[in-house]
Subunit: 224 residues, 2 copies
């Protein structure tokens, strides 16, 4: 781990690549939240989702600013990840408003956890940008409230939502594993000059993600 603001050349390339991935994730989340807002049964829910989308866009800008500071090319750093995010969202298209709410909470929560785990491997300033962008306490509170409201008006929906959340976890982890295994620059970061992330450590990382997922399910009052 290079705890300085200007990482060396190989780490810099890998960090730009990582920031590109996270920035595109935020831009994609912005689009999906804004689109799913349409499913809300009342205007208040639409507005709440729209505001969450605005926050994601702010995070996108934050990550992009750091990417540019490191001399990265936004288009080049983001474009390779378009298929990963497209595949995830294609495979987890919510069919109802409550599914959209649970997806925003569970799916984006896993993405944030994963990003924070990887942030340990980059320079201090990039890490700070990532941690600020992935701070999801406020959005979590909003989403848990929206889910509770929705489940109150349809108490029989819990079982279906628990299955849905389990599927979201599976799809999110699958995409994260693909990215961790296939992107050379990420491998460079994770097994580079700093703390190594071997297969055992990677397994522990995903175990931590599963544990935090279980905590989120508890906050929703759903079985994990």
């Amino acid at each position: 781990m290079s705890d300085v603001s200007c990482p060396d050349s190989a780490d810099r390339t890998a960090t730009v690549d990582l920031l590109g991935m996270l920035a595109l994730g935020e831009l994609t989340a912005f689009s999906r939240l804004a689109a799913d807002a349409d499913m809300a049964p009342a205007v208040a829910g639409r507005e709440a989702f729209a505001r969450l989308a605005l926050v994601e866009f702010g995070h996108y800008e934050l990550l992009l600013a750091r990417l540019r500071e490191l001399g990265g090319d936004p288009e080049g750093a983001m474009a390779p990840y378009a298929p990963v995010f497209a595949a995830y969202h294609e495979r987890t298209r919510p069919g109802t408003w409550l599914e959209a709410v649970v997806k925003a909470y569970v799916g984006d929560g896993i993405a944030a956890d994963f990003s924070r785990e990887i942030a340990r491997f980059v320079d201090a300033e990039s890490r700070a940008a990532i941690e600020a962008a992935m701070d999801d306490r406020e959005r979590s509170a909003v989403l848990v409230r929206l889910a509770a409201e929705g489940m109150q008006s349809d108490p029989h929906v819990r079982g279906r939502l628990a299955l849905w959340a389990r599927r979201l976890h599976g799809e999110a982890v699958s995409q994260a594993q693909t990215v961790a295994a296939q992107r050379e620059s990420l491998t460079t970061l994770l097994t580079g000059s700093g703390p190594q992330l071997d297969l055992v450590a990677l397994g522990e990382l995903f175990a931590r993600l599963a544990r935090r997922h279980t905590e989120r399910m508890a906050a929703l009052g759903l079985e994990a």
Copy 2:
């Protein structure tokens, strides 16, 4: 036309209703732009659409603030218009990025023209809010540029886009006519104590919309 900041009770109810319609139009446009951003061939186009969406959300807040100043209930004022906007967007779902760009320019342009026409019938402060929210000069410049870029890489697309724009005009005008004819509160405004908008005047209004549509088509280099 009551050129004061506090319209009388009947006009106030009608103005709140109008602001509700326009606010929901902005919120819906926000969602559609953000969703259609996904279709951009490069990240730059996605970001451009996302930024246009943010501007729409700002307009939504502006209209809502005036609605609240007049003592209106946002949910009550917006909800009745949900089917109109849903129908318009359902019937004009773009199949390609260029169709999305032309829709944002042409469709939202007609909506802005229509809103400005109706703004003549409300109090000065509400009119100012509507005119600020409907100022589409900056977005028009962005969209004309995106359209030109897209058509450059696919010069054979012009004929198809001209037909698409004609359909957008038809659908937008059809929804506008429905709203103008069916909503009692709008009828109150348009035929109320101020300047009357009889059928002849309404016909002239739609003729003006068609003329401005033709100007937009010329800016795109397409036949109207």
